[in-house]
Amino acid sequence: MISWTDVFVSLVLIGITIVLLKWWKIGLTKSLMWGTVRSFVQLTIMGYVLTFFFQQHHWTFMVGLLLLMSLIASYEGNRRSKDHPIPHYFLILFGALVFTQIVVLGAILQFILNVEPWYYPYAMIPIAGMIIGNALNSITLTVNRFVAEMEHREAEMEMMLSLGAPIRAVAQNSIRAAIKAALLPVLNSMMMVGLVQIPGVMTGQILAGIDPLIAVRYQIMIMYMWVTSAVIADILVLTFIYKQFFTSSDQINYTFFRRNSK
């Protein structure tokens, strides 16, 4: 059991880091200190919030929290994309995150963990947090890559349109490249998991005294959940945004391109 005093002792590690950064004149010490304070404060608040929710016995609290988490994630994702503003991006993100949770979280709670009641907060909240976080990261990678691919493939798209291709076919290469790029890190970690590093969830469970053979089962489920939620969320978001890169007359819509060439 770790006490608050123990946590403060762990600040020694940060102290060592600051000394190293200063010694090598790397800078970033201010950011590091700010990060140290923020992670402390945010996680402490989160602990209290979770405690509050774990004590509730009505599904509306859990669903409300999940919606709130999705809203915050959508806001963050929308903010990150101001380089290439996409109409209704906030709503698209929110819809994709909610849908992904309904499918993936629903399947996990109902068919895998078989929790009772279905909104059992100790399962629902942390798993939803993982799904939202992973999906948002994956969406961000996908959309950035998609926009870059579309810009890069301008001549190819013009060639395909000139041969009478529908916009879905014209965008297909960019869609494929974007989803591949976003899934590569997930697939790599699926390949490497357990070979070098003990993944986060397992580390936590083992630290809390759970049998490693049980901890691996959770970790396996999480890896599968991770890749599934990324694919569902990425495809959903691209389905809604690729059309916006074309006009209703099947022309390339240059307004999203950083370089408005035509």
């Binding site: 013009e158 060639m159 395909m160 000139s162 041969l163 009478g164 879905r168 006009t247 022309q251």
Partner: protein, 244 residues
């Protein structure tokens, strides 16, 4: 241009503006069936933009364009583009063999059927050997790639070919070879050709009608002989000096 037959394509006061800049300014021009119209102009004069208005790759801001006496907006874009086919300045080869490039349309059109003999015939038409069908398209020379791009367009059975400086990356001898090929193809397949170029000597040799476009305005149209004595204009003088 003959008065009796209605034009295949008719442009009336076509303008195109973007961000307040006028790229095309009231272009009126008619294209007769089986004609070869050359549009001469310096870089940035709006020639390529004009071509892209004709098959609706971009929408003009003002005016009208008709094809077979119907506004081009009345055709579904994909149908119109199959009939009015743009051949880009730089031929774009997708990764893969020549065969995959020629049959790329079947990726989205299940009705696109082709046979080996048709592919071979089309390659021969554009002056290539059937042997290259399974070669990597990107490993071929730019002249060969331009011919493949042409063959790819022809497999769609177009009625009009829009050529956007199709020979600007090629040496003059190769340029003439390709345009000779296009000339005989146009004759065999009843094609109407609209070609933009900044090379007046090529237009003089191949075009049946020419137009001179400067700063988005069509300043002169007529038979190719107008290129011998263009009206006084600084930009035209510059064009005439430009090496081909």
């Amino acid at each position: 241009m003959t008065e009796q037959t209605p034009p295949l394509i008719k442009c009336q006061d076509v303008s195109y503006n973007i961000n307040g800049n006028s790229i095309l300014d009231s272009i009126s021009l008619e294209f007769q069936f089986k004609s070869w119209t050359g549009i001469l102009g310096p870089s940035g004069s709006g020639k390529s933009t004009f071509l892209r208005c004709l098959n609706r790759l971009i929408s003009f801001s003002d005016g009208s364009i008709t094809y077979h006496n119907k506004p081009i907006e009345s055709y579904p874009p994909s149908k119109l583009r199959k009939k009015i086919c743009l051949i880009q300045q730089k031929p774009l080869m997708i990764p893969g063999s020549v065969r995959e490039n020629l049959t790329v349309v079947k990726d989205w059109d299940p009705e696109f059927k082709t046979t080996n003999s048709l592919l071979e015939k089309t390659l021969n038409q554009v002056g290539l050997q059937a042997l290259i069908l399974d070669q990597d398209a990107r490993s071929l020379s730019s002249g060969e790639q331009q011919r493949i791009s042409l063959a790819r367009g022809l497999l769609n059975n177009p009625e009009v070919l829009l050529l956007d400086e199709p020979t600007s990356n090629l040496d003059p001898r190769l340029a003439r070879q390709i345009l000779d090929t296009i000339q005989s193809l146009a004759f065999e397949n009843n094609l109407t050709i609209i070609m933009v170029s900044h090379d007046h000597s090529l237009l003089k040799k191949y075009a049946t009608d020419v137009g001179i476009m400067i700063n988005g305005k069509l300043i002169e149209t007529g038979p190719p002989t107008i290129l011998d004595h263009p009206r006084e204009h600084d930009s035209i003088q510059f064009l005439m000096k430009e090496p081909s």
